[in-house]
């Protein structure tokens, strides 16, 4: 779909052709199982370990602190269930925020049903967690704090390093879901003071279905996948060698162009927002004005609904998401926007644009052409917008 203008890079990204290229030989000629002893397997194993070392290096970690998983959801589930299971003798209290991804929130909810207690710290109107709230939530039986690095809906970047310091002082394990930041922001596990970190390849132009968990040495977690001895007995299953090679390649490429790309995308995004504000009345920014991912723009449009905007934009070959999780079979407004104090009817009328490598000034101009008439048309149709 080459003529699509894609503004949904927080949902997924195209796999970089160089990444696809790097994966090829591991599918067909060098296809060995890295757990086997003959040359073919050893070669695959070497490629995997090289990838592990590369990723570790880019995160400021040791190679044997990196575990390959099937993606962000698995990494999040593992971190939370794994810590809960391994440390429940110490306590059954967990801390998270109200704006986490469902991979964290639903896992927490599951644990609540199993008798764990969860404190969800609130966020301010920009989506920011106050580290002091985390400090106050810590109890003697707290075993895990899980706060995301940047939010996937509004892009707000959380004060992870400060929260990590608090966690360390209190002797509580600290997990961050960095699915939206790895490849976009510099991520160093020591600077961030994290013990466990989740990342996912398809968010930074790598393949879908492969991710990684950073797990600091000596932090105990129960495996989510029991079985073979892979990943130092912590994550069973034949490793996805092509995916792992692709993951490392993608992170390398993303890191190489990170600084330049952030500047470029932010400039486009800011122009876009400027233009929208000038041409459309009654729209407001969702999320933090400054502590925000360079590629993220989330805004609400009074009097109309998100899905209708998405469909109208799709008719114009533009791909975007609404603030709400349209796909979950529920029509609940976004829990993130509600947590930021946005009323439900405006949460329903929110749109998320996340820019990426493929976007150019032409896309911005095109959006600014197309979107105002869409808003006008839907507002004309709306029984609640009469300005």
């Amino acid at each position: 779909m080459d003529n699509l203008i894609y503004f949904d890079h927080a949902a997924t990204t195209p796999t970089d052709p160089a990444v696809v290229e790097a994966m090829q030989r591991w599918f067909t000629t060098d296809f060995g199982n890295p757990a086997t002893l003959y040359n073919l397997g050893l070669t695959a194993n070497q490629a995997m370990e090289t990838s592990r070392a590369e990723i570790a290096g880019l995160l400021g970690a040791e190679p044997d602190e990196i575990y390959f998983t099937s993606g962000g959801t698995e990494s999040d589930n593992w971190a939370i269930k794994g810590v809960a299971d391994a440390h429940e003798k110490k306590g059954r209290h967990l801390i998270t925020s109200t704006i986490e991804h469902h991979a964290v929130l639903d896992t927490m909810e599951y644990l609540e049903k199993k008798g764990f207690e969860v404190t969800r710290v609130r966020v301010d109107s920009g989506g920011l967690v106050d580290p002091d709230d985390v400090r106050k939530a810590i109890r003697p039986d707290t075993i895990l704090i899980s706060i995301m690095h940047a939010n996937n809906e509004v892009g707000t970047i959380e004060p992870i390093s400060a929260i990590g310091e608090i966690a360390r002082e209190a002797g509580v394990i600290f997990h961050t879901d960095a699915v939206q930041t790895v490849g976009k922001l510099p991520v160093n596990v020591d600077d961030l003071n994290v013990d466990i970190l989740s990342l996912s390849g398809h968010k930074f132009y790598g393949p879908k279905g492969v991710g990684a968990t950073y797990l600091r040495k000596r932090v105990r977690v129960t495996p989510l996948m029991h079985g073979g001895g892979q990943e130092r007995r912590r994550r069973a299953g034949t490793q996805n060698v092509p995916g792992i090679v692709g993951l490392a390649k993608a992170l390398q490429l993303a890191t190489d162009r990170m600084a330049e790309e952030a500047v470029r995308e932010q400039a486009m995004r800011d122009r876009l927002w400027q233009g929208l504000q000038e041409s459309i009345p009654d729209i407001w920014l969702n999320g933090h004005p400054t502590e925000r991912l360079a590629n993220s723009l989330n805004f609400r449009v009074e009097g109309i609904e998100g899905e209708a905007m998405i469909l109208c934009l799709d008719m114009n070959l533009i791909g975007v998401s609404s603030g709400s999780a349209c796909t979950t079979g529920s029509l609940e407004p976004s829990h993130v926007l509600l947590a930021m104090g946005i009323p439900a009817e405006l949460a329903h009328g929110s749109l998320r644009l996340t820019l990426g490598r493929d976007n150019t000034d032409i896309d911005i101009a095109y959006f600014l052409d197309v979107f105002p008439p869409v808003v006008k048309r839907l507002r004309d149709m709306s029984p609640v917008y009469n300005k």
Binding site: E305, E307, A308, L331, P333, A344, E345, D380, M381, S382
Partner: protein, 127 residues
Amino acid sequence: MYTDLVMEHFRNPRNMGVIEDADGVGEVGNPTCGDMMRITIKVSDDVLEDVKFQTLGCGAAVATSSMVTELAKGKNLDEAVDITNKQVAEALGGLPPNKMHCSNLAADGLRAAIEDYKERRAKAAHN
């Protein structure tokens, strides 16, 4: 996700707007839930001479609104009041399961408008 017919109605909604001197008005849904529609009708000799809608909502909400106006227009009130949400969805070739309940209210809106018309007439007869 949506059938071609749903998308066609979303793209080119029939009878969109407000009848200024409507004989009945029906409103269902709630902006807090993300879906709300207002249906205005013009009645003459117990026949729906004109039906118009305004809708805040998703593709299904818009398409069902549009479809119900098509189904209703020209029908007499007794027939029109029997139109169900399910019939509207079927006329559109079906809706995704998650849209069957929350965004498929248009027949309810039409019924509310017809009831409003009947109430107004009853009141007028009393006066």
